[in-house]
């Protein structure tokens, strides 16, 4: 078999490979966020915050009234999820300020890695710390 024939065969195989469907990439709709709204669970502005997260494509679980003793923050459970946690924290900080849920003197939510056996697509958003009223 000549070299040119081999090249032709390889080209044909590559062409067929291009025609085959490629696997789809995972998107935001596979990311599940758990919102802990603390004492402001029934505040209508919390619903606006949830709506903003929904619009970004996240799967948003209904909030609860829990507060974190170690303060507000965005928990992530796999080192590879830090970037997404940072994005979520940025979005939530912006919403909290624009909705007036936090003053300018309050600390921003920061991503924090937790060694808990949760799926890497799970994120916990603790809006308020223990001292919040």
């Amino acid at each position: 078999m000549k070299a040119s024939q081999i090249i032709t065969a390889v080209r044909l195989i590559l062409l067929i490979g291009l025609l085959l469907p490629s696997p789809s990439l995972a998107g935001n709709n596979e990311i599940v966020v758990f919102v802990h709204a603390g004492p402001k669970l029934n505040d209508p502005r919390i619903k606006q915050l949830l709506g903003a997260l929904f619009e970004k494509g996240y799967l948003v679980r209904a909030p609860d009234d829990e507060r974190d003793i170690s303060g507000a923050g965005v928990d992530y459970f796999d080192p590879s999820a830090e970037r997404t946690a940072r994005e979520i924290a940025g979005l939530v900080n912006g919403q909290l300020k624009s909705l007036g849920l936090k003053s300018s003197t309050d600390m921003d939510l920061m991503p924090r890695f937790q060694r808990v056996n949760n799926p890497p697509t799970y994120f916990g958003i603790w809006l308020f710390g223990k001292d919040t009223r």
Binding site: Q5, T8, A9, L12, N29, E30, V32, I46, K47, Q48, L49, L50, G51, A52, L53, F54, E55, L59, V60, R61, A62, P119, T121, Y122
Partner: protein, 396 residues
């Protein structure tokens, strides 16, 4: 003039290229045609399953549900004795949990075993109502009863002693319950196809055959229950009673389904940009008002598949054939039909089994069955009325 010369030159170059690689082009065209031919035959014989791996096997639950539903009743799988008229159930009717990490998702509640999606909340005492309803109904003596035979022959003062005892408070024998003549259901289908293709120096063929049998036989089915109006009245009274009304609420249903669903029955998700929420599962509270019972069940599902393909170099022949055998009608099925079809395929491919030939055969047989005879009757299906949660909430 120069442009015309270029065009002619280019065309000649193309023709030259085609002539040079004609074997490659013919070979590629033959390979593509063969691939699509095999896919087409598989699609024709095995339906939408065109993947080359094994197809998804239908579960016995799915088969059971499909068959029982054809009779217009809600299936109860696995059949159970502890399932009676008056039972108040909490059921999962839809699982809309989009969390991709969810385990034990109930993708199709119809085909999930009943204990995985339902709990018994309570039992509404309907014995008095059943006695009243059946007390008003006419009945027919058992014609097979020996005392009746004696009576017909004019033997000494023999009177019909065959009497129906339908007192639901003390227990009713299966023979005294109304009969439901369920037909023996048998669904059978057969299909097969084969095709061959040839080119210079190559001959190839592919054939496939498929046969599916589904059979459900229920021995002596009996039924009992309440009329719909009476059962709605009883449920309404129960759901208004201050002592029992909480048993009818959606909240009670969801709380009682928590252990079955890993708490997903009470889980909610945000569903729009306004932050509105929805439960991950839809649930219902149902009161059973009619039951179908049997003491003997035979359910069989058989799926026989065969594929055969082959190729030969150096032969020169042209052959193309496709056959379509219509599904065998129920009751006229020939048990050897599948065997004959496979033999037919083998004959068609016999030419291939010569020098320089390659032949491949794949065959599979899947069998699922459920067969049992029980000491006492078991419920195989039911009819129920649903609690209207919205109307219940609106009550003062």
């Amino acid at each position: 003039m120069l442009e015309v010369g270029h065009a002619v030159h280019a065309r000649l170059q193309t023709l030259g290229w085609v002539a040079k690689y004609r074997r490659w082009i013919i070979g590629l065209a033959a390979a593509i045609a063969l691939f699509f031919g095999v896919v087409a035959i598989r699609w024709f014989v095995f339906g939408s399953s065109i993947a080359f791996g094994s197809s998804t096997e239908r579960s016995i639950e799915a088969s059971w549900f499909d068959t029982i539903e054809k009779l217009g009743i809600e299936p109860r799988f696995p059949p159970e004795e502890d399932f009676v008229v008056g039972d108040l159930l909490a059921l999962v009717t839809k699982d809309e949990d989009d969390d991709p990490t969810t385990k034990n998702k109930i993708s199709d509640p119809r085909t999930v075993p009943f204990p995985r999606r339902a709990v018994k909340l309570a039992h509404i005492d309907v014995n008095k109502a059943l006695n009243e309803e059946y007390g008003q109904l006419p009945f027919f003596p058992n014609l097979a009863d020996p005392t009746l035979s004696a009576s017909r022959k004019g033997t000494a003062a023999a009177k019909p002693t065959a009497r129906l005892t339908r007192d639901f408070s003390i227990g009713v024998q299966l023979k005294d319950l109304p009969l439901a003549a369920f037909p023996r259901l048998k669904i059978q289908g057969t299909s097969s196809a084969s095709a061959g293709a040839s080119g210079s120096g190559f001959w190839g063929s592919f054939g496939a055959s498929n046969k599916e049998i589904e059979e459900l036989e229920l021995g002596e089915v009996r039924t009992y229950g309440l009329p719909s109006i009476r059962s709605i009245e009883l449920l309404d009274i129960y759901c208004r009673n201050p002592k029992t009304k909480n048993n009818c609420t959606e909240e009670t249903a969801r709380n009682n389904l928590k252990s079955l669903t890993d708490n997903r029955s009470v889980k909610k998700y945000v569903i729009d940009a306004q932050g509105n929420e929805r439960y991950a599962m839809k649930v219902e509270v149902v009161m059973v008002y009619r039951i179908y019972l049997t003491r003997s069940i035979k359910n069989l599902r058989q799926d026989l598949r065969a594929q055969q393909g082959g190729g030969r170099m150096t032969a020169v022949a042209i052959q193309a054939e496709a056959t379509n055998v219509p599904p065998v009608q129920p009751g006229t099925a020939d048990p050897d039909a599948m065997k004959r079809r496979i033999e037919d395929l083998e004959r068609k491919l016999a030419d291939v089994q010569a020098k320089n030939a390659v032949v491949a055969e794949i065959g599979s047989e899947r069998l699922s069955s459920f067969n049992g005879t029980f000491d006492r009757p078991v419920a195989i299906g039911f009819r129920g009325i649903r609690v209207d949660f919205a109307a219940l909430k609106a009550r003062p």
